[in-house]
């Protein structure tokens, strides 16, 4: 792909938002937020080919860790980010080790990740010390505390934080793509047994993908908590979260760098638009998700990016 359009988009992404209305900035925050989460999921699901239906587990761990550290102990969410990420990565590697060690693949892997996320949700709902079903509210910051508490009065600073995170995720993905890890992840996706026979330590490689993916996803959880100032078990550990996370990279193009971004650019505004057009009818936006998922899987199995790449690929003679 030619670099220029994307450089232009990148520059626009940095320079234009201050000119937009708060509502538009909010949409932009969501676009970048879901693109980031999608990029995180993509490492495990798109590149390594291990479809997780339970990424909400890591999202929730991130959200709860940083929020509890902030509200109970007064630790800055900037540190809470790291704590949440590390905790999520540890959990991810633990769960991943169990799953991969015992050879769970495909739908079984998806089911076990779903189960893990549900288990965490149940624990969060029933554990009063972390707020139980009522969740945790993050009180507004005092004057001058905004930055270290990662709580801003306007949306624009949030946007730049998220944009920064997305840039990091994309940079990391790019680095991996061009490294040994990238090739071995794709090999595992394409044919795990052949990869193993060709010298790839599939267990260790998948765990790397799991660890990185879960770490990044947790960062998104922390951001969510700080942006919305409220978390509860369903908003963070619910199945809906897992679905939203995986939808964008699947539609945009699993296993591609820009798939999650493209997916979010298409789906996020679409979902907002649907919700606005059909006000008072909750659920229509997710109905649209469902329909798009079926259509994409049927007609564009490699997502939007994949379809574009296929159109450009030279046909062998």
């Amino acid at each position: 792909m030619s670099r220029l359009p994307w450089v232009a988009v990148g520059v626009a992404a940095v320079v234009l938002p201050p000119l937009a209305s708060p509502y538009v900035v909010h949409i932009l925050v969501l676009i970048v937020f879901f693109a980031f989460l999608g990029a995180a999921w993509n490492l495990l699901g798109g590149y390594a080919g291990q479809f997780s239906f339970g990424h909400a587990a890591f999202f929730g761990i991130g959200a709860y860790t940083s929020t509890l550290l902030l509200t109970r102990v007064g630790v800055s969410p900037w540190l809470g980010l790291l704590a949440g990420g590390l905790l999520a990565a540890a959990f991810g590697c633990f769960a991943g080790f169990l799953a991969f060690r015992y050879g769970l693949r495909g739908p079984y892997f998806a089911l076990v990740t779903l189960a893990f996320a549900e288990m965490l949700r149940l624990v969060a709902v029933n554990w009063m010390a972390v707020g139980g079903p009522m969740g945790i509210l993050i009180p507004l910051p005092k004057e001058g505390d905004a930055f270290w508490r990662l709580q801003f009065r306007e949306k624009l600073p949030y946007y730049y934080v998220m944009l920064g995170l997305l840039a990091v995720a994309l940079w990391l993905t790019r680095r991996i793509e061009r490294s040994r890890l990238g090739y071995t992840l794709l090999a595992i996706r394409e044919n795990e047994d052949a990869a193993e026979a060709s010298g790839v330590n599939t267990l260790a490689t998948k765990l790397w993908a799991m660890g990185l993916s879960s770490f990044l996803t947790a960062l998104g959880g922390t951001f969510y908590a700080q942006y919305f100032s409220f978390i509860d078990p369903t908003l963070t550990f619910g199945v809906a979260v897992s679905v939203e996370i995986l939808l964008r990279p699947i539609v945009g193009g699993p296993g591609t760098l820009l798939g999650p971004v493209l997916g979010s650019l298409v789906l996020t505004p679409l979902s907002e638009l649907t919700r606005w057009l059909i006000r008072g009818r909750p659920g229509v936006d997710v109905m649209v998700y469902g329909a798009i998922l079926v259509l994409v899987v049927t007609f564009l199995p490699r997502g939007l990016v994949g379809a574009w790449q296929a159109a450009r690929r030279p046909r062998p003679a």
Partner: protein, 288 residues
């Protein structure tokens, strides 16, 4: 304590019958098509809505509505299989996973959009009593649901054992490649299996409507339970789904008796993860 445990036993077995029926539908579909149908719970939920509205708007008794709901959802299942699943049969497993997820999202949220998130309940003017079995309270509606589930499971078993289609289904489930080679019309089988699975789970929905609330998200719980049961019992195993249903019913009710709040579901998940790890083929299943 003894009363508590005995009650848990009875309640668990009663609901276990319904769980078994739900799982039977799922395992049938998996056995024949090797697809995990994420939309299974959504179909049950729609069956519940159908039953509810038939009663609310037309006064049709929920137990009679089974005669309508069953066949109707059989057709829905066939339509889904033909329209959505079949075009994608040759593709990667992961694709099929996403397909049924997409269908689930679509159906659940269609219900949400059409019927709103309000909980509805159907109150029958009869069969509201309960009686005592030893020290345990037995709710008549739950008993009817249990009895009908078991009867339907029996009917399904007879169908699989004695009819040509049923035997073909078992052949395809037992030896997938062999069935194809022997010339069994696999395409038709897929549609029939998916149809039966959908019809069965919709009927399960009808049976529980009198005593459970009806809402767009009510299928989620049954979905996950169905997965757990089918994995526990062995993917594609009839007996596994049946016994697994009772096992999980008991696990849940014992969990409810001994654990606070919604933690009652935790033992089921723990069981699920353990089975997936240590015996993924389940109690009665063939290899993974």
């Amino acid at each position: 304590m003894k009363t508590l445990l005995w009650q848990a036993c009875v309640s668990g077995l009663l609901i276990g019958g319904v769980y078994a029926l739900v799982a039977l539908g799922l395992t049938l579909i998996f056995g024949v098509m090797r697809i995990i149908n994420f939309a299974h719970g959504a179909l049950m939920m729609l069956g519940m809505y159908a039953t509810f509205f038939l009663y609310d708007l037309a006064g049709v008794d929920p137990y009679l509505s089974i005669l309508l709901v069953g066949p109707a959802f059989f057709l829905v299942g066939v339509a889904l299989e033909r329209g959505v699943i079949e075009p994608n049969l040759g593709t990667a497993e992961s694709n099929q996973l996403l397909l049924t997820l997409g269908v689930a999202l679509f159906l659940e949220n269609a219900a949400l959009a059409l019927f709103k998130p309000d909980y509805r309940s159907l109150r029958l003017p009869y069969a509201t009593q309960a009686f005592l079995l030893g020290d345990a309270v037995v709710n008549v509606q739950r008993l009817i649901a249990f009895a009908c589930s078991v009867a339907l499971a029996l009917a399904l078993w007879l169908f699989l054992k004695h009819t040509d289609t049923g035997k073909a289904i078992r052949a395809a489930a037992e030896e997938h490649e062999g069935a194809l080679l022997v010339g069994i019309n696999v395409r038709r089988l897929y549609a029939v299996a998916f149809g039966i699975g959908s019809g069965v789970v919709a009927i399960a929905g009808s049976l529980v409507t009198p005593f459970l609330y009806v809402a767009p998200d009510v299928g989620d719980v049954f979905n996950i339970l169905a997965f757990v049961i089918v994995v526990l019992g062995g993917m594609g195993s009839f007996v596994g789904a049946l016994l697994g249903g009772f096992l999980v019913g008991l696990a849940e009710s014992f969990g409810a008796a001994l654990l606070p709040g919604s933690l009652k579901q935790l033992p089921i998940f723990v069981l699920f993860v353990l089975v997936l790890l240590f015996r993924p083929s389940g109690l009665f299943g063939r290899g993974v």
